[in-house]
């Protein structure tokens, strides 16, 4: 199709053309950024968390006298283990995605002064008693989990640093510390007093919270073996079949409440913990989706409205063209091509706007750079919206009878 006549027509209707271009450009800018933000949030929600979440419940026992921990823990573990339907039980200090953090830093060289800012990589520290691998459902990739002697020897000193020397780390953390080497057998240091040898690598387990870090460090976690003697291990991991979970959790809470009337006992399924952690993220994602849908609808209506008006204004011209031999298809294609041209101007301007908005957001908020793939996707989306919106008015235009040309409105 010859686009010269279309361009010269558009040049005559500068204001309506500019308005549609502007509307499409704004829609393109907002749409690209909004979809990018939705993607980032979905990515956070779907971060792999290699524990078996379906059958896991967590019971927290607070308010016990810390001096009695060495008696309380083994007793509570035994009581939970004997509940019908319980498959594995272990105690832990903090739970993934619980927003209750326990973080530390490690370096790969010995003797580096503690937390001298850069050489230390921040990780979430999970202190666990025997069977935690089964209770959590960890996926071992390399090496082994802890021996019973390692569990038995594990305590926290006065400075709350594990006294053992074996550590299991997640795959992401292993790659961060030793990008091209096998982590097994390597040593992690904390100052000159503490060192831990990697005995196993597990698939990524998420941290209790992001701790100010990005998505990459969200799976920097380590596991350290503990004897059931530390008051800090006040959460019990209870594994059951998924269908027994509600009942097991209820019984676990009431059993522990009965054992220690002075304690505050609180039970949650892991699904509850996950949902609570991502609730804000999820509602933000839905709100972004809503904005996108409504915005696309408003833009489409705007195009329908302006195109209809345009067609109405040009009935005479259309009639003349039909009278001198243009087919219905010619008229239809004319309006479609016109819309395509306008959309293209809008899309080009919109990309610039989208890129600018992304740069601004990157400077002021936690935003990554938008990958270039968003631009063609945004362009195609807006072209499609434009074509769909103009279809109705263009069809109406193509049905204008040639006889209109001879009438004076």
């Amino acid at each position: 199709m010859n686009i010269r006549p279309i361009l010269s027509t558009l040049r005559k209707h500068r204001i309506p053309t500019a308005l549609i271009v502007l509307e499409i450009a704004l829609a393109c800018a907002v749409l690209c950024n909004a979809i990018f933000m939705i993607g980032q949030r979905l990515e956070a929600i779907h971060q792999p968390n290699a524990i078996d979440e379906a059958g896991l419940s967590i019971v927290t026992v607070r308010g016990l006298n810390p001096k009695n921990a060495a008696d309380d823990l083994p007793r509570n573990l035994a009581a939970l283990r004997h509940l019908p339907g319980v498959k594995a039980v272990a105690a832990i200090n903090v739970v993934p995605l619980s927003n209750d953090g326990w973080n530390t830093g490690f370096t790969t060289q010995s003797g580096v002064r503690e937390f001298s800012d850069d050489s230390y990589v921040n990780v979430a520290e999970y202190l666990v008693t025997a069977d935690a691998d089964k209770a959590l459902g960890l996926k071992l990739l390399r090496g082994r989990f802890f021996h019973s002697e390692e569990y038995a020897a594990g305590t926290l000193g006065k400075s709350f640093m594990p006294t053992g020397h074996a550590i299991v780390i997640t795959q992401s953390f292993a790659r961060r510390m030793w990008p091209d080497q096998d982590a097994l057998g390597k040593v992690l240091y904390m100052g000159d007093k503490y060192s831990y040898t990697v005995v196993g690598v597990v698939a990524d387990v998420l941290r209790p919270d992001r701790n100010g870090g990005g998505l990459a460090s969200f799976s920097y976690s380590v596991f350290l073996p503990m004897a059931p003697v530390e008051a800090a291990l006040n959460k019990y991991l209870v594994r059951s079949a998924p269908q027994d979970r509600a009942r097991v959790l209820r019984e676990a809470v009431s059993t522990l409440e009965k054992i220690s009337p002075e304690a505050v006992v609180n039970g949650k399924t892991f699904s509850d913990i996950r949902n609570a952690y991502f609730a804000d993220t999820r509602s933000m994602a839905w709100m972004l989706v809503l904005v996108c849908v409504v915005m696309v609808a408003v833009t489409a209506f705007g195009i329908v409205g302006l195109s209809s008006f345009w067609v109405g204004q040009r009935r005479r011209q259309i009639g003349i063209r039909r009278a001198v031999g243009a087919t219905r298809a010619d008229i239809l294609h004319y309006f479609q091509t016109e819309n395509f041209l306008i959309s293209s101007f809008g899309v080009v301007l919109g990309m610039l706007l989208a890129y600018g908005a992304n740069l601004y957001l990157m400077q002021h908020y936690e935003m990554a750079r938008m990958p270039w793939t968003f631009f063609p996707v945004g362009a195609v989306t807006l072209w499609l919206i434009g074509q769909l919106s103009v279809l109705g008015p263009a069809l109406r235009a193509s049905h204008v009878p040639p006889v209109v040309a001879t009438r004076s409105v």
Partner: protein, 433 residues
């Protein structure tokens, strides 16, 4: 004349109800989204203590080991016990208080009931006068009582209602963990938003206020642990937080005049240099943001809320452009009518005014419907699990602002079409018909 324009506008709007409805709806959606997000943003970035915030400062020092490149040092968001006590005991400000958050296990008064945890603040005596905390009964404790580790406690209105049915409970006993505390004060409902004093201390930034306030020295003697503890050296004894190499206390000072603030800043610098001379500290970086500055620096307002606001205004802009387009289409369709009016003697200004009146009617209708959408949006936010959810209400200011936004956006949308209409030459329009 004005009523005539309104009449004309209403006729014109009625003539094409679908188009009118579309314009009003689009504008209302944009306004609804903007007002909803702006209400939340304003609420979250509000001033928690309007009367005092300008004179409250949050001194920061840096107790960590020396850095190879000292220019990269940034002061820490909280203080160790030693620094906090040195600053509080120096009494260089009108008021000064150190504080940390903890969870206090409140034992039930009756047997058979279970204990529960209450959000608690362990702090020093000046906390109450400095933050202008309102008391219903009694008062705070004295500095002497605090230092002497007296077992006294101030409780919130909510806790007083829960435990004592709202009666004057001053003088009664509250059992926290294994010790009896004498209640010396009961607060009126008090929950500054954001909960500015808790920003780094391991509490939520919005929502309900704290339930229990107890003297810091007493709480430390009872080994209550702070919600947030950040150690800058391994190997210290964490069972004695007064000596551990950890930060866990926030210090606030009240400096009513600018010269006092300058003097305090000088004192803080001197303090750090003196500590470096003593070999206790190694870094010279200090900071002393005022309350609102500290709120900004610690990013209290969730960035999602700010992004939503940007997005909503982007959306409103699209709706306005959309309205411009549709209004333009409408008014060019009526070229002949305009031609007739102009030929009969209406001035350009009169035609312009007529179309602006039409635009503002659309704006007002959009504003009214937008208000409805905003209420709906805020209702939806109140159903969310976010900690600020309960606070999301439209206040009078935002109510008025909604109409300002509506009118401004509709008038902006109306200018171009109205101008186009007013400059149409009447003769060709009359000829065409």
């Amino acid at each position: 004349m004005f009523t005539y324009y309104i009449d004309l506008a209403l006729r014109s709007l009625r003539r094409n109800t679908v188009l009118t409805a579309l314009m009003v709806l689009a504008l209302a959606l944009g306004i609804g989204a903007s007002i909803t997000t702006l209400t939340v943003l304003r609420l979250l970035s509000g001033d928690p203590l309007p009367a005092r915030s300008a004179q409250l400062y949050y001194p920061q020092v840096d107790p960590r080991p020396a850095l190879d490149d000292p220019s990269r040092a940034r002061p820490m968001p909280a203080m160790s016990w030693t620094d906090a006590m040195n600053l509080v005991n120096a009494r260089k400000a009108r008021y000064q208080a150190a504080m940390a958050l903890t969870q206090a296990k409140v034992m039930p008064a009756k047997t058979g009931e279970r204990p529960f945890f209450s959000d608690a603040v362990m702090t020093t005596a000046d906390f109450f006068p400095m933050f202008d905390v309102p008391f219903r009964y009694g008062s705070g404790w004295s500095a002497g009582e605090g230092q002497a580790r007296a077992r006294v406690v101030v409780i919130s209105d909510a806790l007083n209602r829960k435990l004592f049915a709202g009666a004057n409970s001053v003088g009664r006993t509250l059992r926290i963990r294994d010790h009896d505390f004498r209640i010396v004060g009961v607060l009126r409902p008090w929950s500054p938003q954001p909960r500015f004093y808790a920003v780094w201390l391991g509490g939520r930034s919005y929502g309900d206020g704290d339930g229990v306030f107890l003297p810091l020295h007493t709480a430390v003697a009872d080994k209550m642990s702070p919600n947030n503890l950040n150690c800058f050296a391994a190997g210290g004894d964490l069972n004695d937080l007064t000596k551990a190499p950890c930060i866990w206390l926030g210090v606030w000072v009240d400096l009513p005049t600018a010269s006092q603030a300058r003097a305090y800043r000088g004192f803080l610098d001197n303090y750090v240099h003196q500590q470096i001379a003593l070999g206790r500290m190694h870094r010279t970086d200090v900071a002393m943001p005022d309350l609102m500055q500290w709120m900004r620096e610690s990013h209290v307002v969730p960035s999602d809320v700010q992004l939503q606001t940007w997005l909503a205004f982007g959306f409103l802009l699209i709706c306005v452009v959309n309205t411009v387009g549709l209004l333009l289409a409408k008014c060019l369709k009526r070229s002949q009518e305009i031609g007739v009016r102009r030929a009969l003697g209406a001035s350009r200004r009169a035609v312009f005014a007529q179309f602006m009146v039409e635009a503002s009617i659309i704006g007002l209708a959009g504003g009214l419907l937008g208000l409805l959408f905003a209420e709906l949006g805020l209702w939806a936010i109140r159903q969310q699990p976010a900690e600020y959810a309960d606070l999301a209400h439209l206040d009078l200011g935002m109510f008025a602002f909604t109409f300002v936004v509506a009118l401004v956006s509709s008038l902006l949308a109306g200018v171009l079409p109205a101008w186009r209409a007013s400059v149409l030459a009447p003769a060709p329009q009359l000829k065409a018909s």
